[in-house]
Subunit: 71 residues, 2 copies
Amino acid sequence: HPSGALVTAELPAKGSIVLVVGPEGGVSPEELAAFEAAGAKPFRLGRSVLRTSTAGTAATALVLGRTGRWS
Amino acid sequence: HPSGALVTAELPAKGSIVLVVGPEGGVSPEELAAFEAAGAKPFRLGRSVLRTSTAGTAATALVLGRTGRWS
């Protein structure tokens, strides 16, 4: 259901970024509403659904690479 | 031993990119020479050494994100 792609998302250059990776079955509407109420923004990682364990590593590497937090 | 960081490496916008991830113990000088003779360029992924299984996922996500191959 997330509309934006993490690979092109606008990301803060400073401060902490918390990544929440859902299960293969997806995040429930109730969970999504709770995350968004807490300030989270939903993004999809790619065109395919990755295993949760792979998605966490991939999303972290993507964010680290895109924000200059990793060099 | 790789000098450049993958996160800032110049990457081709088109064509295939083949990632070779070494074991935790590192790539041997003989292996490195063979890869370089075949046209490979050595890069490090970050400041710390990742497990081989994690490094492959992380490097793939980083390259996909940096080259627009993933959206």
